[in-house]
C-alpha cells in the first residue's frame, strides 16, 4: 500500500525541479476551464429533478403532463365591485386578441359553442346513437297522458310567445322534449365546474371573474422560455388590463419561472456567502496568507468541476450549481489536511506528502465512490450532481497532493495556524464522551421511527405568495379542475380506446355521483355501443311506443288545440336511419378544443381521458378493486405522491446499502484492521443516526431532494473518520484535530449556505445535511479518539 502512495513523493521530487512547468500547466488547465465556462448554459428546468426511468412514477409524471389544463396558461381577470361584466369580458377579448405568437398559439375567453345548423343535425342523429338503457326507462315514463299533456302545454306556451315566431320547426319535430336527453349528456363535457357563460365568455357565478385559456408552444419545463412568456404576459397585462381589474396568471410556466428565479437568487446567496465564510474561516484558523493558497484549491475545483460537467452534459442544472457551495466545503478538507501536515518543519516535505496522501487519497476516493452511488439515481439531476461532485473531489485530490505542496513550500511566508504554540488538545473525558454519545444515539434511534418520506412535489416547489393566492382564488372561483385525477382509457386505435372508455364510464357511474364525471362516453360512445344504442332506440319505438306516442300526442294535442298532424315531423324523425357519431363530427360542431384535450393519439395508441375528483377512495378503487375496468390507467397528484414516496424509500434504502458497502470495502482495504475500520465508520453511522433521529423528532420529511443528504453525510463522515483514524493511529496530535475541525466547519458552512436558500428544495438539503454534520463532526473529533484510546 505504501508503494502506491510513494508515487506522490516521487512526483513531488520530479516536479520540484519543474515547478514553473507545473504552475504553468495548472494555470493553463484553469484557463481552459474558464474558457469552457464562458458559454455556460445553466438550466433551471425542473425536468432533471424528476424521474426519467420507466418506473410508475416516471410514467405517471409523463401522463400528468397530458391532463387537459397541464400545459395551458390560465389568466383570471377579477373585477372590483364597480366592474361590469361587459367591461370584464371586453378586457378578456382584448387580452386574448393580444396573446399571439411566439408565446401563444391560441387564447380563448369563452367556449367554442356548436354552430347552430350543424348542431341540430347532429343532435337529431345523436338521439338514437346515445340512447342508453336509462334514457329508455326515462322516456317510457314520459309516455303517459299526464306527461305528454304537460309537455304539449309547454309547446303551446312557447308557440304563442315571441320565441314561438322562430321555434315552430323545432317544437314540431320534438314535442316530447327529447333534445334534453342529449343536452343533459353535455353536462359530462363540462371540464370547468364553476363555469357560467356571459356573452359567450367564461364567467364566474358571482360575475366578477372571467377566464382566458391559452395554449403556448413554450414547454413547461423550459425556464428560459417560461420567463420570456411571463415577461410578455406581464407587459400585455400592463398594456391591456385597465385599473380596477386584477389579472392573475396560473400555469406550470409560472411555477417554473418562480422556481428558476429563486434558484438563481439562491445561487448568488449560497455561493457568495459560502465562499466568503469559508475563506474567513481558513484565514482565521491558518493565520497566514498561505491560507489563501488553501482556499484557491476549492475555488479552482468549483471552476473545473463545472467545466468538466459541461463537457459531459449540454447544460448544468442550477441545483447542481447550488451544490457548488457544498463542494467548496467538501473539497477544502484535503488541502487543509495537506497544509497542516506540511506545517511540520522538521520533516522532509517529500515524506510528508507520501504520508498525508494516505488519508487524503482514501478519504477522497471513498467520497468519490460514495457519490458514484448517486449515478444509480432515477433523477437525472442527481446523476449530474454525482458527476459534478466526483470531478470536484478528484480535482481537489490532484491539486492538494500535487500542486499545493509546491506552492506552500516555495512561496515566501510562514505556514501557521491558530493555537500553533499551544499544546492543548481537544480531548474530553473518555467515559463522559462515550456515555453521552450512546445516550444521543439511543434517543435518535428511537426518534427515527417518526421519520416520513414525502412524494409531494409541491412541498419542495417554491410557490410565491401571489401565485399561491392566485391558485386558491382560481380553485375557489372555478372549482378545482386543475387538480382532477385523470383516467386514461387506452387502446390501439380510437375504437378500442372508446370501448374501454365506455366500460370506465359505466363503472364510474356506479361509484361516483354523475356530476363528478367528465367523460366523452355519453356523447361519443364506441361504434359498438352506438350500434347497441341505435338498436335500443329502434326497438323502443317499434315496440308499440311509436303508436302510443302517436295516440297520446293526437289525443292530448287535440284537447289543447293542436291539429292531428301537428307533429308529423317528429314521426318522420323517428324513421330516419342514424349514422355513427364520430370524433370529427364533434369537432365540426364546435367541440374541437375539448376533443383535442380529451382524445390523445400517437403512433402506437389512443388514449381517451376521463376526469374525476382526486380522492384516496378513487386511488383505492383502481388499485384494489379487481372489477375496475382493464386498460385504464389512473393518474393523479394523490397517487403520484404515493408513488414518489415509495420510490424515495426504495432510493434511500439503495443509497444507504450501496454507500455503506462501498465505504466498508474502501476503509477495509485502507486499514486492513477491523478495529480501525469500525472506528472510521463511527462518524458516518453517528451522522446518519443523528440526522434521521433529528428529522423524525423535528418532523422534517425526506423528499426527492434531501435524500441526497444521506450520501453527503456518508461521504463527509467517512472522510473525517479516515482522517481521524489515520492521525490518531499514526501519531496523535492536536493539529489533526484542528484540520478535521476546520474541514468539518467549512463543510458545515458550505451546507449551511444551502439552508439560507429561499427555495425549499435547497433549504431542505442544507438543513438535513447540517443535522447529519452535527453528528459527524463531534463523532470524528471526540468519539473516535475516545473509542480508540487505550485504557491506561
Amino acid at each position: 500500500m505504501d508503494a502506491c502512495f510513494s508515487i506522490f513523493s516521487s512526483l513531488y521530487s520530479f516536479l520540484s525541479r519543474r515547478r514553473v512547468l507545473l504552475y504553468c500547466a495548472t494555470f493553463v488547465v484553469i484557463l481552459l476551464a474558464a474558457f469552457v465556462l464562458r458559454n455556460i448554459k445553466m438550466n433551471e428546468d425542473i425536468a432533471p429533478l424528476l424521474p426519467d426511468d420507466q418506473s410508475e412514477a416516471a410514467k405517471d409524471f409523463a401522463l400528468l403532463q397530458k391532463a387537459p389544463f397541464a400545459n395551458k396558461v390560465l389568466i383570471n381577470l377579477r373585477g372590483t365591485a364597480g366592474t361590469s361584466r361587459k367591461e370584464l369580458t371586453e378586457t378578456a377579448d382584448r387580452m386574448s386578441l393580444a396573446m399571439t405568437l411566439p408565446y401563444f398559439t391560441r387564447a380563448v375567453s369563452g367556449p367554442s359553442l356548436p354552430s347552430a345548423e350543424e348542431f341540430q343535425t347532429w343532435f337529431t342523429n345523436a338521439l338514437p346513437q346515445t340512447f342508453t338503457n336509462d334514457d329508455s326507462i326515462k322516456l317510457q315514463k314520459t309516455l303517459t297522458a299526464q306527461e305528454v299533456r304537460s309537455r304539449l302545454q309547454n309547446v303551446y306556451a312557447q308557440l304563442t310567445g315571441p320565441e314561438g315566431w322562430f321555434m315552430k320547426p323545432l317544437l314540431q319535430s320534438d314535442p316530447l322534449d327529447l333534445k334534453s336527453t342529449v343536452l343533459e349528456k353535455l353536462r359530462h363535457m363540462n371540464v370547468i365546474p364553476g363555469m357560467g357563460l356571459y356573452n359567450n365568455h367564461f364567467i364566474s357565478p358571482d360575475g366578477k371573474n372571467t377566464l382566458i385559456i391559452a395554449e403556448t408552444p413554450v414547454k413547461m419545463t423550459d425556464s428560459k422560455g417560461s420567463r420570456e412568456l411571463a415577461e410578455d404576459l406581464k407587459a400585455l397585462i400592463k398594456r391591456v388590463v385597465p385599473p380596477g381589474i386584477e389579472a392573475s396568471v396560473i400555469s406550470g410556466h409560472a411555477y417554473t419561472t418562480a422556481n428558476a428565479e429563486t434558484i438563481k437568487k439562491d445561487l448568488f446567496v449560497i455561493l457568495s456567502s459560502a465562499g466568503v465564510v469559508i475563506f474567513l474561516l481558513i484565514l482565521f484558523f491558518l493565520r497566514s496568507w498561505k491560507g489563501v493558497l488553501v482556499f484557491l484549491v476549492p475555488s479552482s475545483v468549483l471552476c473545473l468541476a463545472t467545466a468538466g460537467t459541461l463537457l459531459i452534459y449540454d447544460s448544468v442544472s442550477a441545483v447542481t450549481m447550488a451544490f457548488g457551495a457544498v463542494l467548496l466545503g467538501i473539497s477544502d478538507d484535503y488541502p487543509i489536511l495537506v497544509y497542516f501536515a506540511l506545517c511540520s518543519k522538521e520533516r522532509d516535505p517529500k515524506t510528508i506528502v507520501r504520508e498525508v496522501a494516505h488519508p487524503v487519497m482514501f478519504g477522497g476516493l471513498t467520497t468519490i465512490v460514495t457519490f458514484a452511488v448517486m449515478l444509480l439515481s432515477t433523477l437525472p439531476g442527481q446523476r449530474q450532481l454525482a458527476v459534478f461532485s466526483m470531478i470536484g473531489v478528484a480535482v481537489s485530490l490532484v491539486f492538494s497532493l500535487i500542486v499545493l505542496p509546491h506552492l506552500l513550500q516555495t512561496l515566501p511566508g510562514e505556514k501557521r495556524y491558530i493555537g500553533a504554540r499551544s499544546s492543548r488538545s481537544l480531548s474530553l473525558p473518555r467515559r463522559g464522551v462515550l456515555v453521552f454519545w450512546l445516550l444521543i444515539m439511543a434517543l435518535c434511534l428511537w426518534q427515527t421511527g417518526r421519520l416520513h418520506f414525502s412524494g409531494d412535489l409541491q412541498s419542495i416547489n417554491f410557490v410565491p405568495e401571489d401565485l399561491q393566492k392566485a391558485e386558491q382564488h382560481l380553485s375557489k372561483t372555478w372549482g378545482d379542475f386543475r387538480g382532477s385525477a385523470v383516467l386514461f382509457a387506452e387502446g390501439s386505435d380510437l375504437e378500442s380506446s372508446l370501448s374501454v372508455n365506455d366500460s370506465l364510464f359505466a363503472y364510474l357511474s356506479e361509484k361516483l355521483p354523475s356530476g363528478q364525471i367528465v367523460s366523452l362516453a355519453p356523447l361519443l360512445p364506441s361504434t359498438a355501443t352506438q350500434q347497441a344504442n341505435a338498436r335500443r332506440w329502434k326497438d323502443f319505438w317499434a315496440d308499440g311506443n311509436e303508436r302510443l306516442a302517436g295516440k297520446l300526442l293526437s289525443e292530448e294535442g287535440a284537447q289543447l288545440g293542436f291539429s292531428p298532424d301537428a307533429f308529423a315531423p317528429f314521426f318522420e324523425m323517428l324513421k330516419r336511419h342514424p349514422y355513427p357519431i364520430t370524433l370529427e363530427d364533434l369537432k365540426k360542431i364546435g367541440f374541437g378544443d375539448l376533443m383535442g384535450s380529451m382524445v390523445l393519439k400517437n403512433d402506437k395508441k389512443v388514449q381517451t381521458l376521463t376526469l374525476v375528483p382526486d380522492t384516496q377512495g378513487l386511488v383505492d378503487l383502481f388499485e384494489k378493486d379487481e372489477k375496475s375496468p382493464k386498460g385504464v390507467r389512473l393518474v393523479s397528484q394523490g397517487r403520484f405522491k404515493g408513488l414518489i414516496g415509495k420510490a424515495l424509500v426504495g432510493n434511500f434504502t439503495r443509497y444507504i446499502i450501496f454507500a455503506l458497502l462501498v465505504i466498508v470495502v474502501a476503509v477495509g482495504v485502507l486499514f486492513r484492521d477491523p478495529k480501525k475500520v469500525l472506528l472510521a465508520l463511527v462518524p458516518v453511522v453517528t451522522g446518519l443516526i443523528f440526522m434521521l433521529g433529528a428529522m423524525g423528532s423535528l418532523g422534517i420529511e425526506f423528499n426527492l431532494f434531501n435524500i441526497v443528504a444521506a450520501i453527503l453525510v456518508i461521504g463527509l463522515g467517512v472522510d473525517l473518520g479516515i482522517f481521524m483514524v489515520c492521525n490518531i493511529t499514526e501519531g496523535y496530535d492536536h493539529t489533526a484535530n484542528l484540520a478535521i475541525l476546520l474541514g468539518g466547519l467549512t463543510s458545515f458552512v458550505g451546507l449551511g449556505a444551502l439552508a439560507l436558500a429561499q427555495h425549499p428544495a435547497l433549504t431542505s438539503i442544507g438543513i438535513t445535511v447540517m443535522l447529519g454534520l452535527c453528528g459527524v463532526i463531534p463523532a470524528a473529533l471526540f468519539v473516535v479518539p475516545a473509542l480508540y484510546r487505550k485504557t491506561p
Partner: protein, 217 residues
Amino acid sequence: MRTIIAILMLCCILVAAPAASAEGEPADQGPSAAGKAGAFARISKTVSGVKTIAGAFRQERRLAMLARPAVSTGRFYCMKPDKLRWELINPEPSGFLVNGDLAKQWKGKEGPSDAFETKQNPLIKLIVDQIFAWTTGDLKWLEQRYSINVVQDDPIILKLVPRSTKEKKYVDHLRISFEAGTNYVHVVNILEKGGDSTRIEFFDLVINGQLQQGLFE
C-alpha cells in the same frame, strides 16, 4: 352548465329561425321608387320625434299545427334607443325586457330571471331587433334584411321579402301596415312559406308618454 344547455338549445332554435344577415340579392325597387321614397320619408318624419312608445297588442297565430288560431294579448313599452318591455298577459303571462345590452325574461308567475346579455341569447336579440324596427319604424335596419315594396301609399302598407336565403326557407314575406294619418305601425303580418301566418296588431299607442319608472329594471 344549465347556461350551456340553454345556449345550445337556442342555437338549435336559431337554425330554424330566419337569419338576420343580409345576402347579396338585388333590392326590390317596387313599382315606384318615388312613391317608396315618399312613404319612407313620411314614416321617417313620424318616427323622428318618437322617444317613447307604449301600447297594447293582439297576436293571432294561424298555424297548420293548430286546429284554431292561437290568440294572445299583451302590452309593450319602448324607449329609444335601447329599452323594450314586451309583456304577454293572456292566455299565459310571460315576457321579456331589454335595457341596453342586458335582458331579463320571465314565464308564468315566476319573477324575471337574472339579467343576461342580449348577445348571449341570440333569439331574444333577434326578436328585440325585429320589434324595435317595427315599432320605431327603423327602415334602415329593415332594408338591410328585406327588400321592401310599398303596397299601398295611404295608409302605408309595406311588403318585406327576406334577403337571406335561410330566412326565405321559412318566411315568404312580412306585411307592415301603418296607421292612417299618424303613420305609426298598426299591423305586422308574418306570412310563412307553408301558409302559416302571424298577425300582430298594435293599438292604444301612446307616443312620448311618461313611462312608469322601473319598467326596464
